[in-house]
């Protein structure tokens, strides 16, 4: 178990820059997700940490040692590959045993047949077998130990890959989209299992994914990557509620955050949305507001902006309503409505949307987050006065 530091790492392949000065510190025992759209450099960063890829500049520090001069095999990291990379010719037990065999047996003791009779190998092999059994027990794959990977289901293979990673005591676990080959149901299940495993092992986990639900549900902290940059690191709540950038806001959260263009009224600093005062005061540089679907109320009678219900989805526990605004016909607002609100029967009818000013986020023209708060009239002698 160790801390992992990524210090100003850059990497380019030919002329394309894949990583630009990325820095991140993962504390001992922490579960950090690297998340970002496809091609943003998540796998590359993970492979640089593992040593399978060499960075152009910057350092990787594991524990208190800079490991840039160490081969991957000497860094004591365990990796779970997206394709699992199980040895197809070895059975499950031998697959899980591989890192231990490499660690404890020398080249001669690893030889088939003869190796077993060399001095020292019997005790070592017993110890290895015991640890393999323990790991298999933990992952509930004891009954599969004799099978070849080709005879396993996707979920079982995934467990074997995790088993191979956890038999020894690595400095950190690196997982590259380990659940992406599984079907939706199994993915939810394995998500829970990996999170529990982390709690039990108290080990350092670096988990690459492009599924924001996985990142939100499993991580202590999330590092959001865009175009080779780590643009925000924070707890799931921080990243969700306080995104520093419109790209983070749009990437995290499902359904996606609503982004609407606004004008800023000079006098009070009030954001004007589709011609109506929005009730939110922002920094003068703001050009758009981001509002999460759950901060939006949709009503058939009154609200801030009028529109037409274009589509509604009933998820059972809640409904998502999509309203196209009359004043901004290119904007479709997604709002979360409660259970049994019946919007699916009212597609095509008129509706009004309004939102909770305390939950609005403002962004400037470069996509950076700027100050924003709900307009609260200051009461001076019973008269409402604009503040700000």
């Amino acid at each position: 178990m160790a801390e992992v530091q990524i210090r100003n790492v850059s990497k380019r392949f030919g002329t394309t820059t894949v990583l630009e000065n990325a820095s991140l510190t993962i504390s001992k025992g922490e579960f950090v997700s690297l998340i970002g759209p496809s091609g943003c450099g998540k796998s590359t960063l993970l492979r640089i940490i593992s040593g399978l890829e060499v960075q152009d500049t910057g350092q990787i520090v594991i524990g208190d040692r800079t490991v840039d001069d160490l081969r991957p095999s000497a860094r004591n990291l365990a990796m779970v590959f997206q394709s699992y990379a199980l040895y197809p010719h070895l059975n499950v037990a031998s697959n899980i045993a591989m890192p231990l065999r490499m660690q404890r047996l020398n080249g001669f003791q690893r030889l088939p047949v003869i190796g077993r009779f060399l001095p020292g190998s019997a005790t070592a092999n017993d110890g290895i077998a015991r640890q393999v059994r323990d790991a298999a027990e933990m992952l509930d794959i004891s009954h599969l130990l004799e099978r070849k990977p080709g005879q396993l289901s996707g979920g079982q293979r995934q467990r074997v890959a995790v088993g191979r990673a956890l038999v020894r005591d690595p400095a950190a676990f690196l997982l590259d989209e380990p659940l992406s080959n599984l079907d939706a149901k199994l993915r939810v299940h394995m998500r829970t299992e990996i999170a529990q495993l982390h709690r039990r092992l108290k080990a350092t986990f670096i988990y690459v994914t492009h599924d924001q639900v996985e990142a939100m549900t499993m991580s202590d902290r999330i590092a959001v990557m865009m175009d080779g940059d780590i643009i925000q690191v924070g707890t799931p709540d921080e990243v969700y509620d306080q995104p520093v950038d419109i790209r983070v806001a749009e990437f995290i959260g499902s359904p996606k955050i609503n982004v609407v263009p606004v004008d800023i009224e000079a006098a009070r600093g009030m954001a004007v949305l589709a011609g109506a005062a929005s009730g939110v005061v922002t920094d003068p540089s703001a050009v758009s507001l981001g509002i999460r679907p759950e901060a939006i109320t949709v009503s058939s009678s009154s609200g801030l902006a009028a529109g037409i219900v274009e589509h509604a989805e009933n998820l059972g526990s809640e409904e998502y309503v999509q309203v196209r605004l009359d004043a901004l016909p290119e904007i479709v607002i997604t709002a979360r409505a409660g259970h049994g609100t019946g919007w699916t029967r009212r597609i095509g009818s008129a509706a009004h949307v309004s939102f909770d000013g305390n939950r609005a986020l403002a962004f400037d023209s470069a996509g950076r987050r700027v100050a924003c708060r709900a307009y609260a009239p200051r009461h001076v002698g019973g008269k409402a006065v604009a503040n700000g």
């Binding site: 399978l52 095999s73 990291l77 590959f81 990379a85 040895y87 010719h89 591989m98 030889l111 191979r164």
Partner: protein, 316 residues
Amino acid sequence: MADITLSPDRLQRTQTPATRRRASLRNFKAQGLAWMLALPALFLMAMLLLGPLLAVVVLSFTDYSLGNASLDWRGLDNYQAMLGDDIFYKSISNTLVYVGIVVPGSLLLGLGAALLIESLTRGKAFWRAVYFLPVMATLIAMAIVWEFMMSARFGIIPQTLALLGFPAKNWLQETATALPVLCIIGIWQSLGFNMVLFMAGLSGIPRTLYEALELDGGSSAWTRFWTITWPMLAPVTMFVVIITAIRSFQVFDTVHVLTKGGPNNATMVLIYQIYQEGFDFFRSSYAAALTVVFLVFIFILTVIKARTIENKVHYS
């Protein structure tokens, strides 16, 4: 639920004898059509494959000789003669020695060449073509080149060895060295083919396996080879062994061009003996009996191939 499930016997009971008869008639018609469609292929197979084979087996029990108008049934006479034929023993043992040297030799060198060429960053295509050249060239033509190269007076090989202090001899005409030289030519010839097969096998090994091994702590080339490359190549290796063995059993052209089985039958191999008996001495029935022995060897190899390649050495 049970009452709406149609069990097979229930289905049977609902069929009247008439429908059953109609069904079997339809079945018979369909089968007849299938046989008719297969007939041309079956006919050709019988004429071209099974017929000649059967003829050889039958001939081996007679005293037929090429050009004779009649033949007599002789039972196992030819096989009896074989047991007393020193040249037969010689050719069997020479063939086995040849197979025993050429198979491992061309396998190891082919694998080595494949590994080395795959590790190159540039010029892969060039080296692949160079090693594959002997496979594409006709062996008869290449054998003539070898004959020149082995010539005692001006051949490059004896002349070079002479510089190193060896006697300038044509090693193909020495009893002790003729067969080893043929083996070397055999290896030279099959190496390129095996190399190409191994290269195909190597390119089928996923890179991530090596990366996984590296992270598991295996970092030396030796470990990589024995833990991943060699076991992953097992199906290809099995195929290479069988194919090279079958081809080596059939060695003929180099013997025919370079040594004619000599000196002192030192390079007499099974096929060359069959050729001599059949076409030089016109003892067709004895040649047929030798052919049967040869076919038994090939049959055994084919069975091994079918058993191992198709059942065992597959990972999936």
